[in-house]
Amino acid sequence: MIHVFNYKDTYYIYDTGSGSLHECDKDTADYLKSEYEGGEAPALSEEKKAEILNDIKELKDKGLLFKEEVKTYPLKSSEVKALCLHICHDCNLRCRYCFADEGAYHSEREFMSLETAKKAIDFLIDNSGDRKVLEADFFGGEPLMCLDTIKKVVAYARERGDKAGKKFLFTTTTNALLLDDDAIDFFNREMENVVLSLDGRKEVHDAIRKTKNGKGSFDYVINNIKKFVRSRGDKSYYVRGTFTSKNLDFSDDVIFLAENGFDSISMEPVVTDIDDLAIKDEHLPAICAEYENLCDKYLEKYDKGEGFNFFHFNIDLEGGVCLQKKVSACGAGNEYFSVVPNGDIYPCHQFAGEKDFLMGNVYEGRLNPAIREKFASNCLFTREECGDCFAKFICSGGCSANNYHFTGDMNTPYKATCAMMKKRIECGMHVLAQKKSRKS
């Protein structure tokens, strides 16, 4: 199928079967829309129509337009390749929008013991089959409340990994409140990626991300994050913000972050049912317009030589993952799991603490086969509503957890998420095209 869309006065055709992106003029876009999407037919001269038909034929012959979609099978693997280690179910902030109940995950505040963390590493190695590269993510709560444990877990994983022929890639997600020199040195030595939570402008950040005493945390974290980023060199990091219905002008927050020296940024829509913060259908037009605002500002910065990396505008249409991966979604519950402080295993961090999704415990070393099979079978083709969506091979049918929490079914996409995803993808494609045209 094709998706014809415009970014202001620039028109694009995305061909889902071949994964190709083309730019076209308005007449061509209007013609294709009228022929294939039921739009109003444009008044075209015979000469123009012949030109359009000729262009279409040439691309069809090259397999770059109207290419039939291949219904490949998803990756099937019994190997475990990644764990999210909930090293700590406690937090030193009390952010209202926190999906994890301000760090406690609707249970008691607790830390993972070193013994349990080591068991989790053993579980990962022992179940990783021939897989050579394994990933572990230190998550919370706030992981830096347990830095000593993290250091010991990393040392243990490296030692066991060396003996087993496995290489570990570690990530930590932190609010940066305790990000001191010691933590910075350790992260720069050991973490493949570090995700630092910062929502943007001080007033936006402080409205939500408060300390236990109810004070805004911006002033406490901004210098820590700046210091860390300056020391990071060419290693990966993301400054990650969350926007809510309170800051639908979030492009200003992204630009604020870029202008504070952060060149690797993500900004995610909040996942919450808190009424005054939640993203609702009525906000979607403003959010989609704001993604365009962000896209314009992003390209303006790029043109000035002040470009930065915005996670959602990185659409890799040339060297991206293969079709099998594209239809397989994220792998949660099959090759990626979360381990909570007592060693219980869940499909991912967003299911942590939900009894229906308890898959086992690292001390038992087994996974509930029925739940695993359910997640392993989840793929683009089990999400029927995705069948006629242009974005399907890029988003893979969305997040199982978000789908489940908002619609009650992992295979029923949540419409608001879809709308934002589709807009981000269109903006990402526009960014791709504009960067290429500037280079040439």
């Binding site: 990644a82 590269v133 993301y238 990650r240 690797s264 996670f311 993952v321």
Partner: protein
């Protein structure tokens, strides 16, 4: 006028399963497989990269 902006390079190997876990990325809530890279291609293009 139709101008091709981008099309996928042919992949020698597909379905190897060596790709990174999507959720270890920057988002943790709105993962997009489409902005991931193929690990094999990344390794071929950057032999010095650590994740070999």
């Amino acid at each position: 006028m139709i101008k091709t902006i981008s099309s996928p390079r042919e992949k020698k190997v597909t379905g190897c399963g060596e790709c990174r876990s999507t959720c270890q990325s920057a988002c943790k809530t709105s993962c997009t497989v489409g902005n991931q890279s193929c690990e094999r291609i990344t390794r071929e293009e950057n032999p010095e990269k650590t994740n070999k």
